[in-house]
């Protein structure tokens, strides 16, 4: 049974075929990266996987289940969490509240018991908090716990989003350009964390990334796209030296 598989995925926006017949698989415990020039359809694939868009054709399989028609809020429950290229944190809430919200899929209390804040709700809250604290410790976010997200610098927000995705206890993590807007040191940190997520937490990662150094450091396999069509799949080195990929980036 493959862990995650996209089969002949395609989507049209009007007359534009943004993603055209893309197939790939992600094995359990690997970091799989999608690269490609701007407008190649990388983020569109992410939005297809997290079910924000409906594919025009093709299938998505996760742990043997067909998730092509699963509603978007169920995706997180199944164990797929994502980050966003342009940071979609809940800005007027504290970092802690942001991370606790990510525990939403693990809630076991109903509306009325929460209305009365019954002991069961209190126990649940402490349980969520313990899970969140593990992630805070893992990503070194202790000092920002009670800060409002609007007041956090960009680099910290980027890590906060990663933390929020981890708080859902995912099996597959989708990272949309984790290094965009980060400086060199922060990008290096990000590379370490992605390695740790893979090795220590055993979470598989599907990533879209432009920074080739980061891609080469952390990826097990790479898929190159151009104009929504796959060019090459393989190890970072193979893909980087593939003539089609070089032509897509450099022209000629």
């Amino acid at each position: 049974m493959t862990f995650f598989r996209a089969e002949n995925l395609a989507i049209n926006f009007g007359g534009i075929r943004a993603v055209d017949d893309v197939s790939f698989t992600v094995q359990k415990g690997e970091v799989f990266t999608i690269i490609g020039p701007n407008g190649a359809g990388k983020t569109t694939i992410f939005n297809l996987v997290s079910r924000i868009y409906d594919p025009s054709a093709g299938r998505l399989l996760f742990e043997g289940n067909d998730i092509t028609a699963t509603p978007p809020h169920r995706i997180a429950e199944l164990g797929i969490a994502r980050t966003f290229q342009n940071i979609e944190l809940f800005e007027h809430a504290t970092l802690l509240q942001n991370l606790l919200l990510a525990r939403h899929v693990h809630r076991k209390t109903g509306f009325f018991s929460e209305l009365l804040f019954l002991p069961s709700v209190q126990r649940m809250e402490v349980e969520h908090r313990e899970a969140v604290e593990k992630v805070i410790e893992f990503l070194d976010l202790q000092q920002y716990r009670d800060a409002l997200v609007v007041n956090l610098p960009y680099g910290v927000r980027k890590i906060a989003e990663l933390a929020r995705a981890l708080c859902t206890d995912p099996k597959l993590l989708l990272l949309d350009e984790p290094s965009s807007g980060l400086n060199v040191e922060e990008t290096d940190d990000m590379a370490f964390w992605i390695e740790d997520i893979k090795k220590l937490l055993g979470i598989s990662v599907l990533m879209v990334e432009h920074d080739m150094k980061l891609v080469a450091t952390v990826s097990d396999r790479v898929l190159a796209l151009n104009y929504g069509r796959p060019l090459a799949t393989g190890t970072p080195l193979e893909v980087q030296s593939h003539p089609e990929v070089i032509r897509a980036y450099l022209g000629g």
Binding site: E88, Q122, R129
Partner: protein, 380 residues
């Protein structure tokens, strides 16, 4: 400055941050309990309005301040609650049961009105709720068998478990208790997963959805809960106003409620209370000033012999007596709040509190916001 030393996670989910805060709330409860003894009937009646407006404001705060859904039709829910309660009382239903039925009816209406909200946001939702309010007002006018139409509907004093709350003070306590309980319940929701889901919907629907929040469900929750509170407020409102007529529940009332939550401070429960004090007490304050300013200035004029002061005093009194001045002052304050303090009275209170707790070291720029442009507009 106090630094709370945290040793357990339970500390962060407590109702009060620490003992000092709890003591201050205790003092507040004491003051509320003591007021009817200290003040005259007139003032007690006016403060009762603060409590009723507080419940209304709480209702709108959940929707606008926490879930980010704008409603211009909340007066209609208030009306539905008030008329339903009055109607069932007339039929001889006991008070508690009548309130419960009124709340259930408004909740149902709220969920139905919330259905279009599952697809609409911002100005479109505001217009949809406005249309609902206009329709409901028309229903109040035409459905004479239930509402009495234009001739109105008299509502008697509440009789709870055989006890008739005939005087101002006992009704004051009833309203205060209802506000306190609803505040507590709302706070409970806000500090558990439902409240976080609401905030998430307000700040980023797309991220909320990706984190597993079922948008339609939680938006319906918000609308239903908001309407339920409004229905409860409506029942008390009916007793307070004693005579229901369709033109009370107009668009102007809805706007006044919106004013309440914005002036109080969006996204805070303290803001609800501040806003309610403002909206409920400004008209009586204007009424008092209308009479007292000319009188005081006239006495100053006669004492000092400067006649101009008396003329100015009469001028101010005359100005405050003009029709529409009250609405004008409300509007002016709303504009000033949005310009000067977008976080409302609660935001100002937070600044004052920080000023005193960090006294010689206060930095004005603590609250400066940097403009940032990084939210994705593509997926909206």
């Amino acid at each position: 400055m106090r630094f709370p030393f945290k040793t357990t996670y339970e500390q962060d989910i407590r109702l009060f941050r620490d003992r000092t805060t709890a003591v201050w709330y205790g003092v507040l409860v004491g003051v509320v309990l003591a007021l009817p003894v200290l003040l005259s009937r007139y003032y007690i009646g006016e403060i009762t309005w603060v409590f009723i407006y507080g419940i209304c404001g709480l209702s709108l705060m959940v929707l606008v301040g926490y879930t980010g859904l704008v409603s211009l039709g909340h007066a209609a829910f208030l009306g539905i609650g008030a008329y339903a309660h009055a109607y069932f009382l007339q039929l001889g239903v006991p008070w508690v049961a009548s309130v419960a039925i009124a709340v259930v009816i408004t909740t149902a209406c709220g969920i139905v009105v919330g259905l279009p909200a599952l697809r609409m946001t911002g100005i479109y939702l505001a217009i949809a709720t406005l249309a609902f309010a206009v329709i409901i007002q028309e229903v109040f006018t035409r459905w004479e068998a239930v509402t009495g139409g234009f001739s109105g509907m008299a509502v008697d004093k509440p009789v709870i478990f055989g006890v008739r709350l005939a005087d101002e003070a006992s009704f004051y306590y009833l309203c205060a208790a209802v506000l306190a309980v609803t505040l507590l319940l709302t706070r409970n929701l806000l500090r558990s997963s439902t409240g976080r889901a609401w905030v998430a919907i307000r700040d980023s629907e797309i991220a909320a959805q990706s984190m597993g929040v079922q948008l339609p469900l939680y938006k319906s929750f918000a609308f239903g809960y908001s309407a339920a509170l409004m229905g409860l407020a409506g029942a008390l409102f009916a007793h307070k106003i004693a005579y229901l007529a369709p033109d009370i529940f107009s668009i102007l009332f809805s706007i006044q409620l919106l004013l309440l939550v914005i002036v109080g401070g969006l996204g805070s429960l303290h803001g609800v209370v501040f806003g309610a004090i403002f909206v409920a007490l400004l008209p009586p304050i204007i009424a008092i000033l209308r009479d007292s300013i000319p009188a005081t200035m006239a006495s100053v004029a006669s004492a000092t012999g400067v006649g101009v002061i008396g003329t100015i005093g009469r001028g101010i009194g005359g100005f405050l007596k003009m029709p529409g001045v009250e609405a004008g002052i409300f509007g002016l304050i709303l504009v000033l709040v949005i310009l000067v303090e977008p976080a409302g009275m609660y935001g100002r209170w937070v600044k004052i509190r920080l000023f005193f707790s960090t006294f010689p070291m206060y930095k004005r720029d603590s609250f400066k916001r940097q403009k940032s442009y990084m939210r994705s507009e593509r997926l909206r």
